[in-house]
Symmetry: C2
Subunit: 462 residues, 2 copies
């Protein structure tokens, strides 16, 4: 898709008529919207950034872009890590930060409807007085719209599910300019094709979300969190797997390598043992939580775990999970000035220990520091390969290592991405993983976005 600078000038003028100062072509605004937080991808700024405030305004943008065959790139918090927000062919970035209203909270139905620019912590702050919470927690303070787009998950998806499980309905502006509603607020439905799930994880390539209805959960009566160290990471992994197999409803189960723990201690000022570690959480009634905790301590002990160290009280738990959430940023600080190549494989849990052990051997042989940690209850873990993006040798080494890991995961019947999405970095891996199914995805893309204006170059090649 090629467009001329005259086209952009003309489009900017038309958008300025509608949006006034809520549209920009300033270099610094454009640059800030052409990059994500810490990935190695070079900045690809959009030509224009617009800040709509309503579904109708989003429709105006889509209509103008469609008429001019100009790419549209949605932007939430910019916390995705696979280049999803890069404006590969320029175009109009739609920044949803001014569409951040919580529209309705249905306490009795355990759901709420929000605009896409609402952030995770903003939503949970608003829900707390109602005794409810939104469960999906990718760590970053992402927007709900962005989390829908990447099919995000995170630390407590092992118990409460991913975005796939927690989105009830979407209002979506599709490329032809219409705003459709994918479902009602009913908790389940067999009414036609599941468009909600088709748009969840579509990374901006099929339409722009303007309203999102999500499932909520009652804040549990009791919450207990603990850390438990192990001599080997395989012991931590096996503990979580045996826990799930016993039907114990673990709320979070995170394994972190010794290097990650050291990065966390430096970044967060904590003093955890710098050994393979499990961070655990239990939710339920007081007695259920105690029962679960006892059972898991027993399992951990028989797989080489030390005594669990409990965080009494909310403040302690918050510190613990903040430290876990900051693991990514902490990891980045291990090498000042570095950018990151991240990896996000997810394998059947029976293969997870093998996958992590084989990967640890690759890490030990690598020339750069590579913290490893993940959501082991789901079989999902991350590497943060800390690279100098100017060094072609390092970039090649990082690429080789992460490609080996993706191949390993696929050979174990796993996926190249558990929660980060495809973006621009893993299009080849998607094809390797799903083969001809990718052709079906392409036919759907062509059917819904025949002109290819929605976030071109992402998820699917050509």
């Amino acid at each position: 898709m090629v467009h001329s600078s005259e086209q952009i000038t003309q489009l900017y003028a038309e958008l300025a008529d509608i949006f006034g100062d809520r549209v920009s072509n300033a270099a610094e605004i454009r640059a800030a919207h052409g990059m994500d937080v810490v990935s190695f991808y070079p900045v690809k700024p959009p030509d224009i950034v617009a800040f709509p405030e309503s579904t109708e305004e989003v429709q105006r943008i889509v209509d103008l872009c469609r008429e001019n065959r100009i790419p549209i790139i949605p932007f939430g918090a910019g916390s995705s890590v696979e280049g999803q927000v890069l404006a590969l062919s320029g175009g109009v970035c739609v920044d949803f930060s001014r569409m951040n209203a919580i529209l309705e909270i249905h306490r009795d139905d355990l759901d709420c409807t929000v605009q896409p620019g609402v952030t995770r912590t903003q939503l949970n702050d608003a829900l707390r007085p109602h005794g409810l919470f939104f469960s999906v927690d990718p760590g970053a303070n992402a927007t709900i719209g962005g989390m829908v787009a990447t099919r995000a998950s995170g630390t407590n998806s092992v118990r409460y599910g991913t975005m796939k499980d927690n989105v009830i309905a979407l209002k979506v502006v599709i490329p032809d300019g219409r705003a459709i509603t994918t479902a009602t607020r009913a908790r389940k439905s067999s009414a036609g094709y599941d468009l909600t799930r088709l748009f969840v994880g579509s990374e901006g390539t099929l339409g722009l979300f303007t309203e999102i209805t999500v499932r909520l959960h009652p804040i549990p009566q009791a919450v207990a969190a603990a850390v438990c160290s192990f001599a080997e990471i395989s012991g931590a992994v096996t503990t979580v797997i045996r826990t799930l197999q016993a039907g114990i409803p673990l709320a979070r189960g995170e394994a972190l390598c010794g290097l990650t723990m050291s990065a966390i201690n430096r970044y967060s000022g904590t003093s955890y043992r710098e050994e393979p570690m499990l961070f655990l959480e239990f939710n339920g009634t007081e007695s259920a939580v105690q029962e679960q905790a006892r059972a898991v301590q027993e399992i951990a002990r028989s797989h080489g775990g030390e005594e669990m160290v409990w965080e009494a009280g909310e403040a302690g738990r918050d510190r613990l999970w903040e430290a876990r959430h900051d693991a990514f940023l902490a990891a980045v600080q291990l090498r000042p000035g570095a950018r990151t190549v991240t990896s996000d494989v997810c394998v059947p849990i029976s293969r997870l220990a093998d996958c992590m052990i084989e990967t640890a051997a690759d890490i030990a042989a690598a020339s750069m520091p590579i913290p490893m940690f993940g959501h082991v209850g789901d079989g999902n873990f991350h590497l943060v390969v800390l690279v100098d993006p100017e060094s072609t040798t390092e970039m090649a080494e990082a690429k080789t290592l992460t490609t080996r890991l993706v191949n390993r995961a696929i050979s174990m019947d796993g996926t190249c991405t558990g929660e980060h999405g495809i973006g621009i970095g893993t299009i080849g891996s998607l094809e390797k993983e799903l083969g001809d199914a990718v052709d079906v995805m392409k036919s759907i893309k062509r059917a819904i976005d025949p002109l290819g204006i929605m976030n071109p170059g992402k998820v699917l090649a050509g």
Copy 2:
């Protein structure tokens, strides 16, 4: 789609070459495949019924039908109720009864892979020695393939989710003849569009499933079931809603009207009170189950519930749930020779009591018996309107009543079908419910099945 009898004769000869006696054009075989169990729809037999035994054989059928523009209708147990299996324009019925192997059970991963003709009870019998179960339970002994096709749910979806939540991956023969795999066995993935969820609920209109990987759950340590009667059905409904809002993980919560209870007593030889009734189940550890049961008894009491009557032991529980599963067949027996018009609305739970009370008033004014019961934890309930299909007056009355109910549900932000699917009976309701979104479904249908050979006339009009 029109095809000549010469085409069918020719196709039959070609299929007979491949399938030998595993293909039939006998009138009685065709008739048995052109109807479901008890619905009012007139029989629409296919021209040919084939019984494939492998993915490759399914591909042969699809190739031959595509080359000849002949419709293909998949057939599991024939227990769907919205006319999904009717061969509206003739064609080839693909009966999956010979593809009923359980291919792999991955105990450590809590999943298994089966062929589509495996039935729900067959699967659970095979899983029991492994300490696992497949949770989705629509009552009928449906095939897993059929349950994928209609996005089935049932009594314990309130706790364990619907087919949408319990299908991990599918092998699907798409209309161009290729067999694609929609996902790996990883517990979660953000790898491209969620084709698994697109095919779940597609009612045979996008492709034929030949392998299905589903999620399993550990058999709970303790299970307790109880019945509790109420003076008014609203008390039963409110009890379930308050239970969910309190975060109590109810495993099943079914409300049944007095007429349904009377039908059950007659059909199953039970002696339940013939009053509005809740059937409840709790799963967990011994102490958790006791704690949940106490809490729910308290809630029930404050909403007009009598003392709960507990079923001690597995045999008692099995009797109880068998009685509940047989509610539909019991209802049919209330009026010998009647056929059924079923209704399957699902509304946000805050509106459920209102929806059922308003519907009860319609039922009281109706000229035929109409039992009402449902999965109230999901906001989903059924009417079984017992009609004489030869009576145009009765059919008109049934149509008016169920249309009023669908409109009521939609006005409450609910759906026309919680779990039965669209089939041929509720295409108009789907359009009323989702409007322009149906155009997106049609564009997807055209993209994947451009010749319209897959179960034509179902889900989407024209």
